[in-house]
């Protein structure tokens, strides 16, 4: 049985929101890149959308992270060492918070380029750029879970699953977001259907990581903490939110004319359910360890 005698860091809504938005920012960029590399020209509207989304979300991420600090004006101390006599940059590869601040900053630059492309102000970015940008996008979506694990908190430090879990759910939420907002930018129905299928695969991956999370914290003897009171209700809602997406994955093979139209009908509701599930999962993971 793992022993924990720690104080909680009191990371609450700003941090949960950051984790949520970071997953969507990184995920949207990655999915747009996948569509660019392997999709068709009909996906172009959604690709532009996927490249427009990360920048505003990165800005929001930076705002949430900053206002969560006790001294928001000293946010830059994360990047530059202000210890007297020790100037220079702060970078600790073994501290995910330190790495993450750099990853967010660098991904912010890729998002800026992508944003201009999305606006039509830049020619399509070379594949090399989008692939490197996607690497940082994936990192941003996943490191937040690792950050929680690299601590001595109950639950968080008792599992290896959180990085993968946050990454999978970030991809799932991004597919849902693109499918949803795709409606408003005249996205092609076939893009939307394929995003629905992708969402299903991501939801299955997320489900596997949720199981891994439960198994690891059960082995550590701390599972009771996240399956008590209100938290168990939230977990049920999270699991329920995966069902429509997973069904979508198997519906894909039957898509044709009318099927696509039917999927389009549900495509407004389903993404919202997925996004709520993505947010709730972060709430239950972040809060149940601390309170």
């Amino acid at each position: 049985m793992a022993q924990h005698f720690v104080h909680p860091p009191n990371w609450t809504w700003y941090i949960v929101s950051y984790f949520f938005l970071a997953g969507l920012a990184g995920g949207s960029y990655v999915l747009a890149t996948i569509l660019r590399l392997w999709g068709s020209q009909r996906d172009e509207a959604v690709i532009r959308l996927g490249y427009l989304i990360p920048l505003p979300l990165c800005v929001l991420c930076a705002i949430f992270l900053t206002i969560d600090l006790g001294r928001p004006l000293a946010f830059w101390h994360m990047l530059i060492n202000t210890t007297p006599g020790n100037g220079g940059l702060n970078f600790k590869y073994w501290s995910p918070m330190s790495v993450g601040v750099w990853a967010l900053s660098i991904f912010g630059l890729f998002s800026l380029l992508a944003f201009f492309e999305g606006l039509g102000r830049l020619r399509p970015m070379p594949s090399a750029v989008t692939i490197v940008g996607s690497f940082f996008g994936l990192f941003l979506a996943g490191y937040t879970g690792v950050l929680l694990s690299v601590s001595n908190q109950p639950l968080w430090s008792d599992t290896y699953a959180l990085g993968g879990l946050f990454l999978a759910s970030g991809l799932s939420g991004s597919a849902a977001l693109l499918a949803w907002l795709g409606h408003y930018v005249n996205g092609d129905p076939s893009t939307e259907a394929r995003l629905g299928a992708a969402d299903g695969y991501f939801a299955i991956l997320e489900l596997l990581f949720i199981l891994a999370f439960f198994v690891t914290v059960a082995m550590a003897g701390t599972i009771g903490r996240t399956l008590s009171g209100i938290w168990v209700v939230l977990w049920i809602l999270v699991l329920a939110s995966l069902i429509p997406a997973i069904r979508g994955a198997f519906a894909r093979t039957t898509i044709s004319g009318g099927g696509t139209a039917a999927l389009a009908q549900t495509a407004i509701v389903m993404p919202i359910i997925v996004l709520i599930g993505v947010f709730l999962m972060r709430i239950v993971v972040v809060f149940s360890a601390q309170f």
Binding site: Q3, H4, F5, V6, H7, P9, N10, W11, L31, L35, R36, L37, W38, G39, S40, Q41, D43, E44, I47, L69, G70, A74, H77, M78, N81, T82, T83, K92, S95, P96, M97, S98, P124, L138, Y143, G145, V146, L148, S149, V150, S151, N152, W156, S157, Y160, G163, G164, L165, L171, S190, R194, L195, A197, A198, Y201, F202, L205, F209, I255, S256
Partner: protein, 273 residues
């Protein structure tokens, strides 16, 4: 570098007077938290931004009546930041606000800290607290200012029973070895040193003589004294696995399908034409 200094806290002689708590607050100008009545003599409750020493009262009074002298009723322990040799707080701090001083103690620089609270999530001893007033975190400084002026830290100076002993780390270790041997010879088989050697976080500069297992005092035992970075590898591998499967699954699901015309190329290629 100056000599390594330490605290040896011998809990067997602590009487729970809290002189250490008071002296610490006096010297460091800590207001303390509003008093709270708990089911104990302990109305401090925890180490935090306002309490850098905390006398724990561990209630072992048996529920059933017993004969005189059969067992301990209370365990007392003046708790503090352990000034770990391998400090979890320092490991994760992204601003490098947490440093080792010339005395090899662990010190948080308040003007460098930005209040991210990552150290709080890492410290296995719950020794750090966040202050809304200052916006940064605080813990025992080992009376850094007193050390620089060759003075004994306030808590050790005030302790009337010498439960808290201050000195050079090597001297304290020798003293602690003798004391635990004496107690064991008197029949206190549970008497043990905690953090005296490098098995707990590379050695604690504030180490303890305990009269029961560490868990009884809410201290992690040897198997559970892990540094946060132990989870980097597993956490990133999990994320890498998810990323690989996610990209493959995404490519499979999002690749242009049968409904696209054979000439319908990848979007990027088409744009570039």
């Amino acid at each position: 570098m100056a000599d390594q200094v330490g605290f040896f806290t011998d809990t067997s002689v602590c009487i729970g007077c809290k002189a250490c708590e008071v002296a610490c607050k006096e010297w460091n100008g800590l207001a303390g938290d509003p008093p709270e009545f708990r089911d104990s003599f302990d109305n401090t409750g925890q180490l935090d931004a306002e309490n850098w020493r905390h006398v724990k009262f561990i209630d072992l009074v048996p529920d059933a009546p017993t004969v005189v002298g059969n067992g301990q009723a209370w365990l007392l322990m003046s708790d503090i930041c352990k000034h770990c040799e391998h400090a979890s707080c320092m490991e994760v701090c992204p601003t490098n606000a947490i440093i080792k001083t010339e005395f090899d103690t662990v010190f948080i620089q308040p003007d460098v800290c930005n209040g991210c609270r990552n150290c709080i999530s890492a410290c296995p001893y719950a020794a750090i607290g966040f202050s809304k007033d200052t916006g940064v975190v605080h813990k025992c400084t080992f009376c850094y200012d007193r050390l620089q002026n060759d003075l004994t830290p306030a808590c050790a100076k005030a302790c009337p029973t010498q439960s808290i002993q201050f000195g050079k780390l090597d001297d304290l270790r020798t003293r602690a070895d003798a004391r635990v041997a004496a107690l064991q010879a008197q029949g206190y088989s549970q008497a043990q040193l905690y953090g005296r050697d490098d098995k707990i976080y590379g050695g604690l500069h504030a180490f303890f003589l305990l009269m029961a297992k560490p868990e009884v005092y809410n201290l992690p035992n040897e198997q559970n004294a892990g540094l946060p970075r132990r989870n980097n590898r597993g956490g990133y591998l999990g994320a890498l696995f998810a990323a690989a499967i996610g990209v493959i699954a995404g490519a499979v699901a999002l690749r242009r399908g049968a409904q696209d015309s054979p000439n319908d190329r990848g979007a990027g290629e088409a744009e570039k034409k």
